[in-house]
């Protein structure tokens, strides 16, 4: 008992000494604790999650969505970056030029490690995809994206509150809508990360896969399509059946690449955005910060994976299949 009292007194004295010697730090710590407690006490309405992007203007064109606006902003950022970098170019780079050159060199080395001599052909596409997706994914963590917006009148049946909850009532499972759902207004965010729009991810995926076919045809001519339609494949009876099955497999794998390309990017970034929103509404203060770090990492990794996979598919399409064209990659 005595020792506990001594210990507490000791602790109190040390805290007092710390406050005296570090007034600014102790103010910050105190306000963090107070805000954290406040954010646990204050109840806020639940965010609404929309799978598709929403039109910004209530009576405006339906194609003018918040992801489109953010895409324009991302484009503007990239263009300004390029403009500022190339304004005063010097042989010995310094400052911004140095940074951009380092990034581009990293990307070129990546392309070279996968595609070898054909790297210079694939580099423009892969590098611009990486830079664009990096900025797109990072808009996720900018404060104000997804939280500042325009109030629209809600369309019934289209608003999904995260507060829907399952409940047992009279031996039956039922869905309970929270009281906040009765609110007729909904917030349409002004900005929303472009990668959370399936239109953008599918556009990138489809154009990448079309480019894969283009490089394949460029390397092999019409014989590229032997991969999908092996007319000349030898074999009798059972082997012919196997070849027919291969056609189906190749076609499905080519189509599924588009799907996984698009859904991987969309799923990761959309899930990240939902996690951030939910956490910010659960505990407003301090707790969501590690998840922001996680999202920064996820953004880099997803941009990197998209770049890398498109490089690998380019290389696979131009490499000899079946040993007929061993020099395929070097033909252009």
């Amino acid at each position: 008992m005595e020792s506990t009292k001594n210990y507490l007194n000791n602790l109190y004295a040390r805290a007092q000494a710390y406050v005296r010697s570090h007034p600014r730090q102790s103010t910050i710590i105190a306000s963090v604790v107070v805000l954290l407690l406040l954010s646990l006490v204050i109840r806020v309405p639940q965010p609404h999650v929309s799978l598709s992007s929403e039109p910004l203007l209530e009576n405006g064109p339906y194609w003018f969505t918040n992801t489109l606006l953010t895409t324009f902003v991302v484009d503007l950022i990239l263009l300004l970056l390029v403009w500022f970098t190339t304004r005063n170019m010097s042989l010995i780079p310094s400052g911004l030029q140095n940074v951009v050159e380092a990034i581009l060199e990293f990307l070129y080395n990546l392309a070279e490690s996968i595609a070898g001599k054909a790297a210079s052909v694939y580099f423009p596409w892969s590098a611009s995809i990486f830079l664009f997706l990096l900025i797109c994914n990072w808009t996720d963590v900018i404060p104000g994206v997804g939280s500042i917006g325009i109030i629209h009148t809600a369309h019934p049946g289209e608003v999904h509150m995260l507060s829907d909850q399952l409940a047992m009532a009279g031996g039956k499972l039922m869905l309970v809508k929270a009281a906040a759902a009765a609110d007729e207004k909904e917030l349409v965010p002004l900005f929303r990360p472009p990668s959370t729009d399936l239109n953008l991810t599918f556009a990138l995926a489809i154009s990448t896969m079309v480019l894969v076919q283009y490089y394949g045809v460029k390397a092999f001519g019409a014989s590229y399509f032997n991969k999908f339609f092996p007319w000349k494949a030898k074999g009798e009876g059972f082997m012919k059946g196997i070849n027919g099955f291969v056609i189906v497999l190749e076609l499905i794998s080519e189509l599924s690449r588009i799907l996984t390309f698009a859904f991987r990017l969309f799923g990761n970034i959309f899930a990240g955005e939902v996690v951030l929103a939910t956490l910010a509404f659960l505990v407003t203060f301090l707790v969501p910060i590690p998840f922001y770090g996680l999202e920064v990492m996820v953004g880099v990794i997803q941009a990197f994976v998209f770049t890398m996979l498109s490089l690998i598919f380019f290389t696979m399409a131009t490499m000899g299949h079946g040993g007929e064209h061993p020099e395929g990659a070097e033909q252009h």
Binding site: L51, T260, N268, F270
Partner: protein, 75 residues
């Protein structure tokens, strides 16, 4: 059980069951990659890139199930 609650359960099951396989796969990929790096630290860069690629392929299975659950819940 009405339709709305059935949808909630279906969405949760789609994500939960879809996460089992990729979770095991990513664990295997990570453990083997770390083993390889431990044996031969000079090729860390190559192993890391290939590891991230393998993880991305394993993860895409989960992402598809996530998208299906989102479709079930929101569409």
């Amino acid at each position: 059980m009405d339709l709305a609650s059935a949808r909630q359960i279906a969405a949760a099951l789609a994500v939960g069951l879809g996460a089992i396989g990729p979770g095991i796969g990513i664990g295997l990929i990570g453990s083997k990659a770390l083993e390889a790096i431990g044996r031969n630290p000079e090729v860390t860069g190559i192993i890391q890139t290939n590891m991230i690629l393998g993880i991305a392929f394993a993860e895409s299975v989960f992402i598809i199930s996530l998208v299906i659950s989102l479709l079930v819940k929101f569409v």
